[in-house]
Assembly symmetry: C2
Homo-oligomer: 349 residues x 2
Amino acid sequence: MTEYKIALLGFGGVNRALAQLIADKNSRWADELGFKLKIVGVSDLFLGSVINKDGLDAHELAAVPAAKGSLKALRGGSDEPANESVIRFAGADIVAEATFTNPVDGEPATTFCRWALEKGISVVTTNKGPVALHAQSLKALAESTGARFEFEGSVMSGTPVIRLAKESLAGSEIIGFKGILNGTSNFVLSSMETGLDFSSAVAKAQALGYAEADPTADVEGHDVRLKVVILANELLGAKLKPSDVLCKGISEITAEDITEATKANARWKLIGSAEKLSDGSISASVSPQLLPSTDALAGVSGATNAITFNTAILGPVTVVGAGAGRFETAFALLADIVSIHKHNTQSGK
Amino acid sequence: MTEYKIALLGFGGVNRALAQLIADKNSRWADELGFKLKIVGVSDLFLGSVINKDGLDAHELAAVPAAKGSLKALRGGSDEPANESVIRFAGADIVAEATFTNPVDGEPATTFCRWALEKGISVVTTNKGPVALHAQSLKALAESTGARFEFEGSVMSGTPVIRLAKESLAGSEIIGFKGILNGTSNFVLSSMETGLDFSSAVAKAQALGYAEADPTADVEGHDVRLKVVILANELLGAKLKPSDVLCKGISEITAEDITEATKANARWKLIGSAEKLSDGSISASVSPQLLPSTDALAGVSGATNAITFNTAILGPVTVVGAGAGRFETAFALLADIVSIHKHNTQSGK
C-alpha cells in the first residue's frame, strides 16, 4: 500500500477539512484509490506549527481549537509558524498549500511552493496567487526536479474543471470559455432578483458568511480575474498577467437593471471569459453580462459556480458545481493527490 | 511518433465523421496529442468493406458515396461486408465499433468486440448494446489480453461524462446520478412547451431529423434505460440488466400537463437516474419528472443532454453538453483513443 506523507501549509478551513477527511476516509481511500495519507507537519501563521515524522493523529489535528498558538499543545508543536522547517524537514512527499491568496505577488505562498518543488516535493494548492502569477515558472521547476505542481482547487474549488478541460477534453480544441466563477457576486445578483438593492444584497451575503467584511475582491471582479488568468494560461496557452485582463465588477448594477432584465427573460451575471482569436492572440475579460434564459449559465443561481468551454469539435460543454466550501475545496487537494498517484503508478515510480 | 492503425466497423455518420476528422486533423493530433491514426480497414453492412494494411486515404473514405456496395470502388474494396477479416486480419491496433445498437442481445456488435479483444486489439465503441449488456465480460476479456475496452460515446456522445465521473471525480463518492440522456424526447418536451401536443411535437422532431420513423425507443425511455444501466454498472458498481430498470416514457404527457407545469414554474423532463441505497443496493429508473426551475437540469432545452452526479464530498456536479451529432460522437472515439494512448505511454508500452 502506497502511503504519501503530506505537510499542510495554512490550517484554516480547507486544510482542516482535509485533515478531517483523512481522519474519516483513509481506510476507504486505501481500498478505492490505492493509497493512504499521513500528515507529518502543519504550519499556520496564527495557530503555530507541529512536525511529527511518524505521523500526526488526523482526528486530533482536525479538532485543534482555532486559537492563537494552539498547535503548541500537540507533541512536537510550537506556537510559532515554521513553514520552512515543515516544508523542508518534515519528510513530506507532498505539500498541501492553502494559505491566503496574495493577488499582488503571490507571496509568501509562492516561496513555499518553490521550497517544496526545489526538493522534489510535489505541491497541491488551492491558492490562486502562485498559480495566476507564477504557474509557468513553478511548473518548470517541478518538471526539473521530477515533482508535480497541481492546482485544481484554484478555480471552482473541487469541481474538476481544469482536469476535465485538460484531460477529458483533450483533442476537442478548446477555443474559449466563459464562466460564473465567483459565488459571492452571483449570490448578490441572485439576491437582487428578489428585490434587494446592491448594498442590501451585499449586506445579506455578509450576514450569511458568503461575503467578507471588505467585499471588493468579490464584487469588483478581482477574484474572477485571477481565475480567468489561470484558465487562459493553462488551457488556451496564453501568457496573461492579471493587469492584461479588462475587469469590471457588479457594483454599478442597479435594482432597475435587474428588473428590466427579468422583464426581458434575462439575467445579469458576472462573467469571466477568454477566447483564442484567429490571429492566435487571447482576448480575456471580466464584466457583467446580460444572459438570455437559454444560456446554459443563466440558470446558475446563488453561490454555485459554472463554466462553459467552447470547443471546435464538440461544441459547448458546461460544468456546474460548487465554487467554494471547506470540504468541496479540500476535495480538490485530494483529487490533485489522486492525479499524482496515478502518474506515479503508471510511470512505475 | 506513435501511429495507431484503426479499423472502422460500421461506416454510417459517426465513423465517417471520424474519417473526416482524421483527414483534417492528423498532423495537428501528432503535435497536440502525440499520435497519428491510420485507417487500415472499414466494414459496413450496406457499403461493403475495404482493407489496406498500408493505410487508406481518409479524405477519399470520408467522401465515399452512401450507396450500396460503394466501398468496392476503392482499391482492396468489396461490395460485401467483411467484419471478421477487417477485425482479425487488417492489422489494426484499435477497432472503432459504431454499428447499430441492438438492445436485445447487443449482437452482432458484441461478437465484433470479442473478436478484437481476443486478439489483444483494443475496442472503442459508441454502441450502447455491447456496453449495457456485456460490459463486464468484455472488460474482463480486454484485461486478459492486455487490450482496452472504452465506451465514452455510449452515453451523451462525446461529452465526457463517464471519464469525468471515473477519473476526475475519483474519491468524491458518487452516490447517484440523474440525467436528461435522450435528445429526442427532450426536444419533444421542449416543443410541447411552445403549444404543440405530443403527436405534433413528435412529427416536428421527425421532420427535423431528431426522431426516427419509429420514435418508440426514444419517447418510451428504452434508449435512456440502456444508458442508465451503463452508468449504474460502471459508476455505482451495480450489476443491472435493462429489465431491472423501471421504465416509463413521455407519451402520456399531455399539453395540459405542460401548461400546468409552466404555470408552476416547473418543467417536465424524461429523467434517467440511479442511486446507491444505504443497504448497498442500487435503485434505478426512467420516468418523466417535474423539475422545479431551480434544478440544474430544468434549463436544459431541445436536443441537449445533461447529467447531475450526486457526490458525498463535493455535492452535485452537473455536466451539460451534446448528446448526439456525428462529429460530437466521433469525438468520443478520439477521446477513447487518447485515453488508450495515455495508458500506453505512461505504462511504457
